[in-house]
């Protein structure tokens, strides 16, 4: 059972509790798949939290991160476009220190303390595998094909990391599907964001709602 936030409204879009619950169930499967490949990549168990789905403005997302801690984040981003009409920038996000831990685990090297080209490449591949596992499961569930771009690694403060892309309409909303993935040995915790414009959120939610008959 997923856990969904209440009373979510992003003018001019409002999601009902039932829609949020359906999104939570859908992302639970997709992110579970992502965690499973994450575990295989690191050869160890990954603990999952209950998925949490909500709709935020970009500013609200930035404010939340800034309130948590004044720290830099690492985002691995890919753009996706579905045959059924929605587009999204999917972003796997970790605190910067968690990212270094992840790369140490993946490359089996303990002395990594900064991002050189090889570490960036490793992160891009980690993001590619995890995000694609998630998007592939979503595509199959929705009966569509989703074309993806190549992964792009960004390390920055929250405000710069989540700054609007070239298309101003993309600034409209962020569908946050959060599942904490914890690995004790690497002390890593990360989650996934889906940045969509309002039209894409509407299309995506309508397709998920049809799946659940709501």
């Amino acid at each position: 059972m997923s856990q969904a936030a209440h009373a979510v409204s992003l003018d001019p879009l409002t999601l009902t509790d039932m829609q949020l619950d359906a999104l939570g169930e859908t992302f639970s499967l997709a992110l579970g798949e992502a965690a499973s490949v994450f575990a295989a990549m690191l050869s160890q168990e990954v603990e999952l939290s209950v998925p949490h789905v909500e709709l935020l403005t970009r500013e609200a997302l930035v404010t939340r991160f800034e309130a948590q801690a004044d720290r830099r984040l690492c985002g691995i981003q890919q753009h996706f476009a579905a045959d059924t009409g929605f587009r999204t920038d999917a972003m796997l996000v970790f605190p910067e220190e968690s990212c270094l831990g992840l790369v140490r685990q993946m490359l089996r090297q303990e002395d990594i303390s900064q991002f050189t080209e090889l570490e960036q490449d490793a992160l891009a591949e980690i993001g590619n595998i995890i995000i694609n596992a998630c998007m592939s499961r979503l595509a199959d569930r929705l009966g569509t094909e989703i074309e993806g771009s190549l992964p792009h690694v960004l390390v920055n403060e929250p405000r710069k990391l989540f700054k609007p892309a070239g298309d101003p309409s993309i600034a409209a909303g962020i569908l946050v599907a959060r599942i904490d993935m914890r690995i004790a040995r690497a002390d890593v915790s990360g989650f996934v964001l889906f940045i969509m414009d309002v039209a894409s959120i509407r299309t995506f939610v309508a397709q998920v709602s049809r799946l659940f008959g709501i």
């Binding site: 050869s43 490359l107 090889l118 490449d121 595998i129 694609n132 592939s136 595509a139 989703i146």
Partner: protein, 123 residues
């Protein structure tokens, strides 16, 4: 006789991991690497390759398109896709083009599966 294997992936880390596991299971394998479809065509030119392990999503040319190009000059080359893009549509497309399909991340078991499916027994 040593097998000659071409690994094509735009991720250096992915190529390192794939090549490392391949050498672990096939110590005498001759491993060639390319970071794009175009680079792969150049590396393959004039060489007697036995197997190719191709990523799907790469800049310039997809793994499926690359497989079609390689097949024109190397009709007996055994090829498989090793990709994170595990959508049913992509799995079906690989099958339509006669390609074996393997999902990332590459692990020792995945590499055993690759070698079995492409006709090379792991050591």
């Amino acid at each position: 006789m040593a097998i000659h294997v071409l690994i094509v992936d735009d991720s250096k880390v992915s190529r390192l991991m794939t090549a490392g596991l391949l050498r672990q299971l096939q110590p005498d394998a001759v491993v060639l690497e390319a970071d794009s479809g175009q680079h792969a065509l150049e590396v393959a030119q004039g060489r007697a390759l036995d197997m190719a392990i191709l990523d799907m999503n790469m800049p310039g040319m997809s793994g499926v398109d690359l497989a079609e190009r390689l097949r024109q000059t190397l009709p007996d080359l055994r090829m498989g896709l090793l990709t994170a893009n595990v959508q049913a549509a992509v799995v079906n497309r690989a099958a339509e083009h006669g390609l074996k399909f393997f999902r990332k991340p590459v692990t020792e078991q995945v590499m055993r599966d690759v070698l079995d499916a492409l006709g090379a027994r792991a050591a």
